[in-house]
Symmetry: C2
Subunit: 383 residues, 2 copies
């Protein structure tokens, strides 16, 4: 069995006084301290980062991490746009499936706020197809196309979408590492300016700085020493055409469906066993699609279900979604997000989620998406 | 057992009429044709590319490959500067250690010649430390520091280095996929202009376009169907501080030593069993360091041994090195190089190397380096 035995995350936000190296150093020291491990006990490192090459001409980060930590172990950098963190975790899990008695650091980090909005937006657009980039379609535009279609097809209004942001900002207010800790109302979302119709500023996640890390091990002695651990029951990756025009339908993310179905089959867990989930809400519409494509809600039900707010902490629902605040309120330092999602589930399943602790949660799910759905990763964890 | 069952490479060179997507498409179709496989038989893809993000704002390539091929399987992009190809292969090998009956495509591709030399040089410098970049140290400069130290310490001259290029250009003349097929003399190397003293133009590899792919499988039925296969005996990765100033010595690449030692231990092969090797000769000095750090030659012997030309095809030596032409003459499309090295060993061990076929080669080695030695991968294959 493969276990997550520790988690650390930096503050997410506009961290103008910290470089990418500073964030990596903080998160490594933090997760080693939280687990009581020495760096000599780390057998390999998987590192997720999307934008450092484009934004600060910083590639070959494995050797830079080797320098920070003073080690010579294998270090692997993985990039899959906003799914980089989830994919790094999934590959680290594969690594432990291959080799016994190993302990691995999985780190995600991103610096996004030291650049102009134009620079960051252009760099993020690198995850879209060349044709979409040439047409001027950035990600708010791509998700707006999906949102328009969804709202029309299933007869919802922008107010249905607004409830996602309302819920996730409430959750963010409970998470002291979140970028935004301010509660907002549905009305405030509705009154915020349009970014790409029907998506408004408060339907969109932010760009953020931050780093998150987990320790993953299959070393029995280490698991027994650490009291608070969760098992990795599945971590599955699927891909799909990046271009929206190449897809059969745009009211679903096929990669999410495939990765989710594989993860549920592999873990032998039923949907209703999952009590806490972090799903990829880069835009409000994305959370509805995710909940449907993961099989928690039927296709087209999302607009109705979100208004019932049964996935909001404190409700009497069976499944709490994005208790970290999601990408919307927790912030979205791209490479870190997939690791933070898994970290949030780890906190919940080990009873360390404090003022947002979901009771009696034995199983949790993390769902991470790249671009407009060209990559999806679904990880299921069990206490 | 994990086997390489097929290889395809595009021409390496200045391919101004081909995009990165064109190269990926060609190499996928080529390797599927060479192995008689259908795309439905591919369970996962590992993809190596370094520069597309920086040079053409093209990230999230897994979903672009999914679109080209029309598949939904897991696709992983790996980046470790010039070691990207070797690292992708090593991770693919780990994947097959974890899961049985799987067949994997490992692809490396790079477009480098559509940009100005300044753009490409700056992008490549992203693999160096921030401090080295700020000091204006590009890779010729970094390897020149190593070369100067090596030549002084072991009392050699630039002529010793020149023999590496002489040998590798002769090999390139035998490889119809090589970027440079022109035989050059030691005198021509010596008379070529300096790039960074003591390294001259003809001590340095080129920037090139190209893509290479291998198929890796642990599916017994498939291995039995394919006649020409080689086994992967080891594929090991090590890292080291990227900054030269953080290293104990600069007349060795420690990451190469560590990865090499691990690979020899794991494969249970002796150095003298290796009859053909592709080593990372981004600069002439790099081949000498590699041969020493891999344990084929003693430290400091390289300058003398290369002048004896015992690693040149047609000599009576026991080990032929860089029969593909190496990075020097074959060209160095960064992401593709590590895969091409493994492909060359595959051709040699399966008797498909034509006019440069090394006789009675049962074991071969491929050695791929990132940056100035921050990452190294050593793969040992057996017929």
């Amino acid at each position: 069995m493969i276990s997550v035995i520790g988690y650390y995350t930096t503050q997410f936000g506009e961290l103008w006084d910290k470089s990418l190296s500073d964030l990596i150093k903080e998160v490594i020291l933090g997760v080693l301290r939280n687990t009581g491990l020495d760096k000599k006990q780390i057998d390999a490192i998987f590192f997720a980062n999307m934008l450092a090459g484009v934004l600060e001409n910083n590639l070959h980060t494995p050797s830079k991490i080797a320098e920070i930590l003073g080690v010579n172990v294998p270090i692997f950098r993985v990039e899959a746009a906003c799914a980089s963190g989830g994919v790094a975790f999934s590959l680290a899990n594969n690594y432990l499936e291959a080799y016994s008695d190993k302990t691995i650091l999985v780190i995600g980090a991103e610096k996004m706020t030291d650049y102009s909005p134009e620079e960051t937006t252009s760099a993020l657009a690198s995850a879209a197809s060349g044709e979409e980039q040439e047409a001027g379609l950035t990600f708010p535009g791509l998700y707006a196309l999906m949102a328009n279609y969804y709202l029309q097809k299933y007869k919802y209004t922008e107010e249905n979408l607004a409830h996602v942001s309302y819920k996730n900002h409430y959750h963010g207010s409970l998470n002291d590492k979140a970028h935004f800790r301010k509660i907002i109302s549905v009305e405030q979302v509705m009154q915020s300016p349009y970014v790409a119709y029907p998506l408004k500023v408060l339907d969109c996640c932010s760009t953020s700085d931050g780093a998150s890390a987990v320790v993953l091990t299959n070393l029995h002695s280490l698991k027994n020493k650490t009291k608070k651990t969760v098992e990795v029951l599945a971590s599955e990756v699927a891909t799909d055409s990046i271009s929206l025009k190449e897809r059969n339908r745009i009211d679903e993310i096929l990669a999410t469906k495939i990765a989710g179905d594989k993860a549920f089959v592999k873990s032998k867990i039923r949907r209703k066993d999952i009590k806490v989930a972090e799903v990829h809400d880069c835009f409000s519409i994305a959370e509805l699609l995710a909940m449907e494509d993961l099989g928690f809600w039927k296709k087209g039900e999302g607009g109705k279900r979100i208004k019932e707010l049964q996935t909001m902490y404190g409700s009497n629902g069976d499944l709490m979604v994005n208790t970290s605040g999601g990408l919307k309120a927790s912030g979205h330092p791209v490479g870190a997000t997939g690791i933070k999602q898994i970290g949030e589930i780890f906190l919940q399943l080990t009873g360390q989620a404090k003022n947002r602790q979901v009771k009696k949660a034995k199983f949790g799910l993390a769902h991470n998406v790249g671009g407009s759905g060209g990559t999806a990763v679904v990880t299921i964890l069990g206490a």
